[in-house]
Symmetry: C2
């Protein structure tokens, strides 16, 4: 299980194949340590958690995972249930289903359960995967609501506090399929500090903690970097389309892989690569300290 020791995030754009090739789910199992790994499924984003579990129970079963379990959380109280926390503490792979990322955060944000997920990733090197809403929930700043219009529109997206497993990015999913470029441009125009990351369906951005990135699946990962942009966002009226000049767009198809610090990384990709890899350790240290203070106070 040496591959898992590093800790991985799998940020999946939704609709990953669950019955045919199952490329993404197989990769999740591999990064969790193989079919002997302990896999837990968290369906707290969904209003039909049992249906979600049934779907992944079948898929992971087909892929030969014996030790798979549903962490049922029917209320925020369940997040301090010691039986659930024990299962989480033994997990090699943690899978967040789709649903609504606001519901997920309302259920688990800031709880001992949330802290245990961070520990699993940072201290035990578990693989944390999230699809659709589970993907959006991973970053510190989370896309909470947003209209996917034809052009960017000031004031039509809002952010919330996500799980904070990575920072400096906002994640959108079903990206090409639901034509969400204008929405992600709106996020970046409103929040130029953040990089926009759009992930297509049946596609995953894999972050190897502190070490590198990889893209796998069928679609692509689109990155929008507005650090250098000229923007009229501050001056246009609510609902209007801003002028944006020099948004840097990166398109990363399956097979893309870069190691932090490697010499083959295109310079323009460094802000993204550094943000999702090297910066995590620092933010995590802060985050853990915060949690420690809060929960041990």
């Amino acid at each position: 299980m040496s591959a898992a020791k590093q800790g991985h995030l799998m940020i999946i754009g939704g609709h990953e194949d669950r019955s045919e090739d199952m490329t993404i789910l197989q990769r999740f199992i591999d990064l969790s340590g193989g079919s002997d790994a302990n896999i837990v499924v968290i369906s707290a984003a969904s209003r039909v958690p049992d249906d979600m579990w049934a779907m992944y129970d079948q898929a992971f079963g087909t892929l030969g995972v014996e030790n798979r379990v549903h962490l049922e959380m029917n209320s925020r109280l369940d997040t301090s249930n010691s039986a659930i926390l024990d299962k989480l503490a033994a997990a090699d792979g943690i899978f967040f289903t789709g649903g609504d990322q606001k519901r997920l955060l309302a259920n688990i944000g800031g709880t001992p359960f949330d802290a245990a997920i961070h520990s699993a990733y940072v201290q035990r090197g578990a693989c944390i995967a999230g699809t659709s809403a589970g993907a959006s929930a991973m970053s510190g700043h989370m896309l909470a609501t947003g209209r996917a219009g034809l052009q960017p529109e000031k004031g039509t997206v809002s952010l919330g506090a996500g799980l904070g497993l990575l920072h400096g990015v906002v994640i959108d999913q079903h990206f090409s399929e639901r034509h969400r470029l204008a929405r992600l441009l709106t996020v970046v125009a409103q929040n130029p500090y953040l990089l926009g990351v759009g992930i297509d369906e049946d596609t995953a951005l894999i972050v190897k903690r502190g070490a590198g990135i990889e893209v796998c699946g069928q679609g692509a990962v689109t990155v929008l970097d507005g650090h250098a942009m000229f923007s009229t966002m501050a001056d246009v009226s609510s609902g209007d389309c801003p002028q944006l000049v020099d948004v840097r767009l990166h398109l990363l198809p399956p097979g893309t892989h870069y190691s932090a610090g490697a010499s083959n990384v295109p310079a323009a990709l460094l802000p993204f690569l550094n943000t999702v890899t090297r910066a995590i350790a620092d933010h995590e240290a802060d985050h853990k300290a915060d949690h420690k203070d809060r929960h041990e106070a």
Copy 2:
């Protein structure tokens, strides 16, 4: 009619309003010299040229244009018809309808009629407008065929020779409405020398010859600049999605206007502004020389 002396291009993304506010069509009339101007409509891109003319006949009539005429071209022979060429020689405004840009070029490309359009623009300062296929046809390199998939795909777009009223760009239309970003990224990835220009419906990019640009209408103009990009296009297989890093994206909403050489132009926009304004005169001189050689030889 001083406004018209400079020569303008109106590159319209299709579906311009023809019955309500008619912002785009009114602007075309203004740039042609007002309601007293001689307006000609060229429907040679369309397989239903009479329907096209009926539509614009009504719209321009409603807007008070008395001197409006349909230049009917039923074959390539008509392009040297002296009665048609006389009407074209008197035109203050020339409007290309939609249809198929390949059909338009097959009908008029390289003819005396084509040369007369260049003269109207460059020497007489006429306004040349084209919508949908008529917009795509304006550039020297013209988007001929292309699949609008979810991701860019190598080998799925092809270019042809357009009218050459501007150079260094490829124009796509119905851009946001038909979700053509991936297609335009494919164009730029295959042809990094060219800037991709995507124009939304009921929206026009106005080029004041040699002097500046403006955007009017309801949508936006998207520019993709791949000059600085890292790309794997040369190495991926046909049909595969390339990795693209550092494509510069500009989004220009209605109201955007920049003069060539002005101090307020964002640096990253200069390649686009210079390409569609200053470069034209040089290319035109070459183009005219070519035509002169060809037709006077």
